[in-house]
Symmetry: C2
Subunit: 330 residues, 2 copies
C-alpha cells in the first residue's frame, strides 16, 4: 500500500504513471483542500476535482483542471449579465460577516459569483452543485468525495486532507488574498510576505487519513508550500509522516519549479527555492527523487531520473524511480 | 400611472398588450415572490424572472419561463451525476435547521440541487447566480430586481412584492410542500387542504410598493390564490387596495382557469372556482374584466371581451377593456 500526497497538477501528472510501479487498488491519494473556495454559493474543491476527473477519464489535460470539451454557457452569461448590469468583475469576497456563516467548511474563502473570476464549465458546475448539496444535507467532504470518486469510476482511494475549513491565505503588500485570487486572478504576481493556513490549528485529518499515513507515503512534485503545506499544518499530520517511510519527488528542475509559483512561495517561507529546499520543507523525508541533472545533496538516499513529466511514459519512469527509492529505504 | 399585480403567466401575457392602452413609462408591475425558492444554493425568483425575460425580449414564450433557446448543460449533467453516483431525484428539502440559516429571504423553501427538480437553463442559471451573489453582498431583492431589469432593458418599473421571506406552502394529505414542489414536481395533482403564506405576517411591502398601490391597480388574470394571494397576505397590502381604484381581470373562462391550478386552489380557500369567486377573492375590486361569454354578476361595473390571450393582439384587446373599465369607475 502506498499513499500519495497531492495538489492539483504535479502529483496528478505523476499519478498518470502510477500503474507502472503500483497496483491501483494499493494506491490512496490524499488531496489538498486549502485552495478550495466557495464561489457564488458553490463549494469548489479544485485539487480533489482534478483527481476525480483524471481518474474518471474526463480531465482537460491541456489545463489539468476542468472537464475536457466542457462548455461555459453559464460562465459566459455571467460576464454578459455583469456587463449589462454594470457590475465589476474580478474576485469579490462576500462581506466579512458572511465568511463565517452557514456551512463551516467554506469559511474565510467565500467569493461572489458575479462575473465569476474562475472559469467553471457547465458540466464541471454540476459537480460543484452536487457536492454543495450533499454537504448541505450533512455529508462530510470525505463522504462526498468518495461518492463522486466512485460515481466517476475511480480505482484509487481518494481522501480530502480534512473535513474542517483550512484556507490558504497569501499575505502580500497589497493585502491578504486567498490562494485562488493570488493564482487565478493575479497570475501569482504579487509579492508574497507570508502564507497562512487559516483554521488548520483546529483542523483534524479526515477519517482514513492517519491510517493512510501508516503506509509508505509519496509526496508528489506538488508545490511544497501551498499544495503540501496545508496538510503539514494540520496537527498530527507531520508526526504521522515522521513515523512512516516518506519519499519526496522534487517539483524543481534545478532552480525552476515545474509549474506554479512554488519557487516564490518557498522563499516566502524561508526555504531554498530549489531541490535543496525540500530537505527543509520535508524534514521527515527518508529519500528523494530528483532530476538526473540535479546534483543536490541531502545526506539521504536519492534516486535520479529525468523528472520532467510530459506524458504517461514520463510519469511511469518517475514512478519507477519512486519505487526504487522506497525499496532503498524500507 | 397604472400598477399591475402579477404572477408568472397570466399577467405577463396580458402585459404583452399593455402598450395598446398604457405608455410603458406609466406602468409599474409588482411581482409575486411567494413561489421563489432556493435551489442548490441559488435564489430563484420565477415570476420576477418571467417579467425580466419578457421585458428584455428573451422569454421562452412556449413555456412562459426561462430564456428562449437556452441550453441545459449543467441541468443535464446534474442528472448524469446523480445517476452515476446513485442519488435520488425529485424535490429534496435541505435539513430542517438549514431552512432558517443564512440569507433570510430563502427561509422555508430551500431545496437541494441534487438532480435539480426544476429545469434551469445555462443562461438562466447565470441570472440566479448573479442575483444570489448580489443578495449575499447585502442588496435587497428590490435593488437586485431593479439592477437586472435595467440591465435587461426593461421599460416598465418592476418591483418584488416584498424583501422579506414569504413562502407559499401547500398543505396536502401527503404533507406540506412548497408551491414549486406541488406544481413542478407533482403537476398540481395532490389534493389541496390549505394554502399557507409562511412569513407573511411579519413581511413588509417592498419599498415603492405602497406608493405604486396609490395608483390605479390592475390585477391581471393570474391565480388569485398563489399568485395574488401572497401579496394580499402582507399586512398593509389589502388596505392599500381598498383605498385605490382596482380593476381585476378574470383568470377564468367560465369554470376553467386559463392556466395552472387556480380552480382547485380557489376551492381549497373556500372561494367559487370561477369568475364569481373573484368577488370573494378581491373584495376591494371596483370593476371586473370578464369573458364575453361569461354572465357572472358582481353588482359592480363589468367590461366584457374575449379574454383568451394567445398573442399580443389578444393582449392588446384585453388591455383596452381594462382601460375602459378604469374609465368607468374613476
Amino acid at each position: 500500500m502506498v499513499t500519495f500526497l497531492s495538489g492539483g497538477t504535479g502529483t496528478p501528472k505523476l499519478l498518470d504513471g502510477a500503474a507502472a510501479a503500483f497496483s491501483p487498488d494499493e494506491v490512496t491519494v490524499i488531496a489538498n483542500t486549502g485552495d478550495d473556495i466557495e464561489l457564488g454559493g458553490l463549494f469548489i474543491s479544485p485539487d480533489v476535482d482534478t483527481l476525480i476527473f483524471q481518474g474518471g477519464g474526463l480531465l482537460d489535460r491541456e489545463r489539468w483542471w476542468g472537464i475536457k470539451g466542457d462548455t461555459t454557457r453559464t460562465h459566459d452569461a455571467l460576464y454578459d449579465i455583469a456587463n449589462a448590469v454594470g457590475l465589476e468583475g474580478g474576485p469579490q469576497y462576500l462581506p466579512e460577516e458572511r465568511q463565517t456563516e452557514g456551512r463551516d467548511i467554506a469559511r474565510w474563502r467565500r467569493f461572489s459569483g458575479i462575473a465569476e473570476f474562475m472559469e467553471i464549465g457547465d458540466r464541471d458546475r454540476a459537480v460543484h452543485v452536487t457536492r454543495t448539496s450533499l454537504l448541505d444535507r450533512g455529508e462530510t467532504l470525505t463522504e462526498v468525495t468518495q461518492r463522486l470518486a466512485s460515481g466517476f469510476g475511480l480505482t484509487i482511494d481518494l481522501l480530502p486532507m480534512t473535513n474542517d475549513p483550512v484556507a490558504s491565505l497569501i499575505h502580500t503588500p497589497e493585502g491578504m488574498m486567498h490562494f485562488q485570487e493570488f493564482w487565478v486572478a493575479h497570475g501569482g504576481e504579487p509579492t508574497v510576505e507570508n502564507v497562512e493556513f487559516r483554521g488548520s490549528s483546529r483542523a483534524e485529518p479526515a477519517p482514513g487519513v492517519l491510517d493512510a499515513l501508516d503506509d509508505t507515503v509519496v509526496i508528489g512534485p506538488s508545490n511544497p508550500v501551498t499544495s503540501i503545506g496545508p496538510m503539514l499544518s494540520i496537527p498530527g499530520f507531520g508526526a504521522a509522516l515522521n513515523d512512516t517511510t516518506v519519499v519526496a519527488v522534487s517539483p524543481f528542475l534545478g532552480d525552476e519549479a515545474f509549474s506554479g509559483p512554488a519557487g516564490k512561495l518557498m522563499q516566502a517561507v524561508n526555504a531554498e527555492p530549489s531541490t535543496e529546499g525540500l530537505a527543509t520543507a520535508y524534514p521527515f523525508a527518508d529519500a528523494f527523487v530528483v532530476d538526473e541533472g540535479d546534483d543536490a545533496e541531502f545526506g539521504k538516499p536519492v534516486e535520479r531520473t529525468d523528472i520532467r513529466i510530459d506524458d504517461r511514459r514520463d510519469a511511469g519512469r518517475v514512478c519507477e524511480a519512486v519505487a526504487r527509492a522506497i525499496e532503498a529505504v524500507e
